[in-house]
Symmetry: C2
Subunit: 449 residues, 2 copies
């Protein structure tokens, strides 16, 4: 499977002169990307495109090819694939649509049989293909002006819907979420969601696996694989079409027999898959699970510079059946001595509006060393000028001790965004609102329990 | 009350030379702002600050003063206020802390009695004061480098927590939410939340009122006012300290006797106040209520260019007990004739990945004219290059007909953000995720029901 994500070279088959055509966009994207491997363009009807030599077919390329990305019309696919087989290419991404999803199941079956017989692995058909945040390989036919690629990170996303996948990748680029691998597998003609989940279970770059699925292809295989993988790393899933109406819509979308909601939710539970209620939740959960170490328990200490935020955090902690930590007498006395009288040394610990970075540092490290605290929830309201930008370094330093998970809540505009991106880049999960942060903490506690 | 938000002039009392002191920051912010009124600085110990003449006291200013903002220490307050009374200033914002909240209830009582006796209105003490998105008046002591001010709009926010307020204003500036008025009223020494809600009920710039409250000062007055105002415009509220632990935290924050959750929620219901579960929800609800016209019913038509998004919208609609619209035979036949065969003319209506602006236009206007549709939920995934930027004009044109509420879901990065800001500026509510959009639609339907 490695050649799907980190091949030494790629041949794009069907690179049209027309710059709006899928094959052209894929090729141009690869040229513009930081992908280090060699790139070949194939088109039986051109000599040179974008300054690159065009090969009539893959057989006319001399080098051994690790991965072929195919974007020629459905009716040409069998011939193209046979040519790839002649060239002994073992990994194909077929972007092309026009198979089962439009009633052309016969052609798809023929293709599947041929590929299986010749032991060729294939992502597709009718898909966006793959993106790798580390190797920068990318078969997405959406231009970089519209879909920015996210940076490297630990989240991998297996996605049955190309549109959901591309929208999320684009959002992730803006929000600063780091991706390991993205797979849009379309009709799952040969490889299906379970194959990818199994592979990602062993992928060292992948810390957490996200899944958007409308219908699972092989239930038994899915259960077997997910049970195994979820012991190694978290799997977070959304099932599209959970309601009856939604399920009908799924049928006309991917032709997925969506199956009863209860069955899916039962399977998720059985496999220890974390169910997300929304895409927003999915990536909130993914970020905290990607970045946090295992908590020893569920006692949370809130540290804040805004009283109202302390209260909202407390409400959220109680609503989610988590616990407010009770710091030891020693910590309490130490901090009471250190801090002005007006600071509330308790939980929430309200460092109040004039809190400095130094005051945060005292509070964070004291709580980190207190045996009655399992998780730190740090509210940073950066609107007050007395907190300097080195609060970021304090939190990273505290996190690097790897004693307890530290989660940050920070609401604000431009300035806040810059500091949050900095924290996220250093593997600290940050949230805009107390409630979403605490919901994510709940999943962190549950996963490790 | 008008003078709190749109005074002809303002005197800032306690403008220190020290640029980190509250009075100095407030004065500098006013100079830097687009506030059109005259600004006076008062300090009994300086001649000139930031190039402005400094007055020894308000009495030495010749002009009649509409509003005084006071930032001198607590022990000086009585003298300053008496001076203001001599000058016949009827509106005060007192930023100063050091009263009831630190056990100095006696001084606060004395102040309250004096102000009431002399019929002086006062916002404060121990607060951020006010911000007006239209007049640009602003008494916030947080520098613009840290707290960006949001643009003008229809949301007003009455907030018992200064930190919650300032964080939200800063966030709003980044997200492009428009504000009418913001009031941080601190200890509510004279004017309380009910006074502001009543005023905002009659304020033409305010389309929707948001409230963060830990404890209501006068329950009877609150119920009376809110019942009256919520008939005119929506009130959305979060009660901080709903849980027992949260309520304890509120006690040490604002000294608010938080009261039992059930009582608060009962009062909210009785007054037709929309309860939000989180700050995120509050502003999602506020934006849709600010921007949308009254829907005739709860039948929603989903139009999308991504199948997966159509399914997620459908699931969310069903989970929220709303209805999927069933377009008429005529609309169905018309669109089927217009669109390529692969387009799913139904609900969700999947215009598929190669949807153009023109295809969206056909779908949107047909559904707008279909009597079986009450609300349009338009998913715009802008990662595909065939949708041009004039999709924004199509949606604004459709919205301006004022036939049906149109709500947009659009997930993505930089490009998406620009188009969404454009829509928001033109009074179209946009959301990142299907689930949050549908939850907000639910509140829109409920409010007008």
């Amino acid at each position: 499977m490695k050649n799907f994500f980190n091949p030494r070279n790629v041949a794009v088959i069907g690179v049209s002169r027309d710059q709006n055509k899928v094959g052209h966009v894929i090729f141009r994207n690869l040229i513009d990307s930081d992908f280090k491997g060699k790139i070949y363009a194939v088109n039986n009807n051109a000599k040179e495109i974008l300054g690159f030599k065009i090969y009539k077919n893959v057989s006319s390329i001399k080098e051994k090819i690790d991965l072929a990305v195919i974007a020629t019309p459905a009716e040409t696919i069998m011939n193209v694939v046979k040519d790839c087989n002649k060239k002994r290419i073992k990994n194909l991404v077929i972007i092309t649509a026009g198979f089962k999803e439009v009633g052309n199941g016969k052609l798809e079956k023929k293709l599947a049989d041929y590929l299986k017989k010749n032991k060729i692995k294939m992502v597709g058909v009718n898909c966006l293909g793959v993106f790798d945040g580390h190797s920068n390989l990318d078969t997405l036919f959406l231009p970089r002006s519209r879909l920015k690629r996210p940076k490297a990170g630990g989240i991998s996303f297996v996605c049955q819907s190309g549109a959901v996948g591309s929208a999320i990748l684009d959002l992730a680029s803006e929000e600063g979420y780091g991706f390991a691998k993205f797979i849009s597998y379309g009709n799952a003609t040969v490889l299906d969601e379970s194959d990818f989940i199994e592979y990602l279970g062993n992928d060292k770059n992948t810390k957490v696996i996200c899944l958007y699925v409308e219908g699972v292809k092989n239930g038994k295989k899915f259960i077997e694989v997910c049970k195994k993988v979820s012991r190694k790393k978290p799997i977070i899933a959304i099932k599209g079409g959970l309601t009856q109406e939604g399920s009908k819509a799924a049928l006309s979308h991917t032709g997925a027999l969506a199956g009863k909601a209860e069955i899916y939710l039962g399977v998720f539970k059985q496999c220890k898959i974390i169910q997300a209620e929304s895409l927003e939740e999915m990536f909130n959960f993914a970020r905290i699970l990607e970045k946090s170490i295992k908590p020893k328990g569920d006692r949370i200490q809130v540290i804040t510079n805004g009283g109202g935020y302390g209260i909202l955090c407390t409400d959220a902690i109680m609503k989610n059946n988590l616990k407010m930590a009770l710091i030891s007498k020693d910590t309490m006395n130490y901090l009471k001595k250190k801090f002005p009288k007006i600071v509330v040394v308790g939980n929430p610990m309200d460092l109040i509006g004039d809190a400095t970075t130094e005051r945060y540092k005292e509070a964070i490290f004291s709580c980190l060393n207190d045996k009655n605290v399992d998780i730190l929830l740090v509210v940073l309201l950066l609107q007050t000028p007395l907190i300097s930008t080195d609060i970021v370094d304090v939190i990273i330093e505290a996190k690097d001790l790897r004693k307890k998970p530290i989660v940050v809540v920070s609401t604000g505009g431009e300035f806040t965004k810059v500091l949050r991106h900095n924290l996220e880049s250093n593997n600290v999960a940050t949230f805009t609102f107390p409630e979403s942060a605490v919901k994510a903490v709940k999943k962190l506690v549950e996963y490790y329990n």
